[in-house]
């Protein structure tokens, strides 16, 4: 399959060629746009929101549970309404997105690093090291992530750092298993044999030769896992085990609003939910499209 990014047309860089392939699906482009928008909103949250929802001094309890469009006593408008503690929903959502995205991305990256290290070690070393590591990985993977995270958080308590640790512990095994499989295959290829013949040290072979060839399939997995981590953090916060109540993430906001649903004040739960939804669906769509574009069986030539 020849595209504009083939080596015979020197005027198209590989990156723009990749984007051209990716952009064939309009929905995926919309998903990337949504993701960019969400990311920017989260980064610039302090500039975009009229109120800092974590600063208890700025909250006015008399402004609680106002419908969307009401005016605040401080002068600005509650575009998305206010919750039961007087927080502006729009600000709370922006700050909550920060936490959700931050926790999701951080935990995925750390789990990726650990999983890749362990998987490469197991795949390259082989023998009993491989067997032992894979036993541990299989054990962990046979239990649902929510249970492991739940027990961990129940034991260590609330807080951002503890959530990240719990999410990392839940995810690393998946990467380890994937990387080990790829490492086993790559280990038998000729370039590894050549490197060994040239008497390169093991560490050097693993880091400089195996690692770059093991990473491409992980890009897709990691993208989808970010969405999964965000959903898991939201679920844990919803159950009351995640962020503390003064720094709510999206899950906790939804939980807070849940009790007000039956009295008709839907906005406290609904809008954070929509924000969470768009984030997760956008990331999943991007991951899906990446998988199709990078899939060698469908004619891709981007490696792996």
């Amino acid at each position: 399959m020849t595209t504009a990014s083939s080596p015979h047309s020197p005027h198209v860089s590989p990156l723009s060629g990749f984007w051209r392939d990716y952009a064939r699906d309009r929905i995926a482009v919309a998903a990337v746009a949504a993701m960019a928008l969400i990311l920017l909103s989260a980064i610039f949250a302090p500039l975009l929101s009229p109120q800092n929802p974590y600063d208890l001094a700025q909250l006015d309890i008399l402004d609680a549970k106002l419908a969307p469009g009401a005016k605040a006593s401080a002068g600005f408008t509650y575009w998305l309404g206010s919750d039961d503690q007087g927080r502006d929903m729009a600000s709370a959502i922006l700050y909550g997105l920060r936490i959700s995205l931050g926790v999701g991305v951080a935990s995925t990256l750390i789990a990726l690093a650990i999983g890749v290290a362990v998987g490469l070690a197991a795949g390259y070393a082989g023998g009993w090291v491989d067997g032992l590591i894979m036993r541990i990985v299989d054990l962990q993977l046979s239990f649902p992530s929510i249970l492991i995270a739940l027990v961990l958080l129940a034991a260590v308590g609330q807080g951002v750092d503890k959530i990240v640790i719990a999410l990392v512990l839940v995810q690393w095994a998946y990467y380890a298993r994937t990387v080990r499989g790829t490492a086993l295959v790559e280990k038998r290829k000729e370039y590894v044999e050549a490197a060994r013949v040239m008497a390169f040290g093991r560490m050097r072979i693993v880091i400089r030769h195996l690692l770059p060839n093991v990473l491409p399939p992980l890009i897709v997995v990691a993208t989808v896992q970010v969405a999964h981590a965000i959903a898991l953090e939201a679920t844990l916060s919803f159950l009351g085990l995640g962020m503390p109540i003064t720094e709510p993430s999206l899950g906790l906001l939804i939980a807070n609003g849940f009790v007000h649903l039956l009295s008709g004040r839907y906005w406290i739960s609904f809008f954070p939910g929509v924000a969470l939804l768009i984030t997760i669906v956008a990331i999943n769509l991007v991951g899906d499209r990446l998988r199709d574009v990078l899939n060698p069986r469908l004619g891709s030539h981007y490696g792996a």
Partner: protein, 325 residues
């Protein structure tokens, strides 16, 4: 086949021991449960008495030993909060969770396989594309949000279904079940649908992939060339061949259903094991937490074992390879 079963059984027992150790260490070794149960004005003597009464002053390995001895006899300690046997508490609420999980699985299978077949038969049709888009939504949407939305739509806005709780129960063989009454079904529908959504999306994608793969095979083309109708080809040939991965995944996901029931039970106030776990975590009721985890571990190991055996029995290739080896 028998040797295989024995080997898997031995492995399962080993896993049980390792997990019980981990669970025990994780829950008993961290934090201090006495602080919750004794009044803040208690003096040292009272705290010491409470600690001794709960058995928390003995060395950790001895606590573990007592724990295992008790566990093998069916006694997993008494709840710190209600002083009822932890095992009894969990077993009382297990039927509710199992009912929810089985209902969810039935919905997922009954809807997922036909929809997946349809999407696989005509992959470029408008219906198939809608189904696939729906399946992406199905496994992206967090379970708790879907539950909240279901309540908002069906209970608050439309007023068709009751928002929380379990309906009237009927006792069958000593176990209370609620799906045999109309009231019970009305209460069961939303939680079961909520729990089933993820499974459903997974099954649709799996069935569709399997159908497309099977339809490209030679035996299907030969059957059509022979003059068999598409319906018969589907029913007799394709369905049997895609059923193996479907059964395996469904079986393994059943454990996941029981775990995710924790969230659904919390939202819909369904009186099952999951809600008990959350309440116990909030009250730091360790014996109940440990009992729940142990029972879940046993359940999971059993499910994995059964799925392994069923898979070996179902797939003649595995059976014949095993015999030849």
């Amino acid at each position: 086949m028998l040797a295989f079963a024995f080997k898997r059984l031995a492995q399962s027992v080993a896993v049980l021991f390792v997990m019980s150790g981990l669970v025990f260490a994780g829950v008993y070794a961290i934090g201090d449960p006495v602080a919750i149960l004794v009044s803040p004005q208690a003096d040292q003597e009272e705290i010491a008495r409470a600690t001794a009464a709960l058995g928390l002053d003995q060395p950790l390995w001895r606590q573990y030993g007592n724990f295992i001895a008790g566990a093998l006899g069916g006694d997993l300690g008494r709840s710190f909060v209600s002083n009822v046997s932890a095992m009894q508490l969990i077993l009382e609420r297990m039927p509710a969770t199992l009912e929810l999980a089985v209902a969810a699985m039935v919905i997922a299978v009954a809807l997922g396989i036909p929809l997946g077949l349809w999407a696989g038969l005509r992959p470029d049709s408008w219906a198939a594309r809608t189904i696939m888009a729906g399946s992406i939504l199905g496994f992206s949407l967090p379970t708790f949000w879907v539950g909240v939305m279901l309540i908002m739509v069906f209970s608050v806005t439309l007023g068709w279904l009751p928002p929380t709780g379990r309906g009237a129960t009927v006792t069958v063989l000593g176990v209370p079940v609620s799906f045999l009454t109309m009231d019970g079904l009305r209460h069961l529908f939303m939680p079961a649908l909520n729990l089933a959504l993820f499974q459903l999306a997974l099954l649709i994608r799996l069935t569709r992939a399997g159908t497309r793969e099977a339809l490209a095979q030679d035996y299907v083309r030969f059957a059509r060339a022979k003059g068999l109708s598409m319906a018969r080809v589907l029913r007799v040939h394709v369905l049997k061949n895609i059923l193996i991965p479907v059964v395996t995944v469904t079986g393994l996901e059943f454990g996941s259903l029981i775990a995710f029931a924790i969230v659904t039970e919390t939202i819909f106030a369904w009186p099952g094991m999951g809600k008990l776990l959350i309440d116990s975590i909030n009250a730091l009721d360790r014996p109940v937490i440990v009992a729940y985890l142990l029972i879940i571990v046993v359940l999971f190991v059993l499910i994995n074992l059964v799925v392994d055996l069923v898979y070996t029995a179902l797939d003649p290739r595995v059976r014949l390879a095993g015999r030849a080896a």
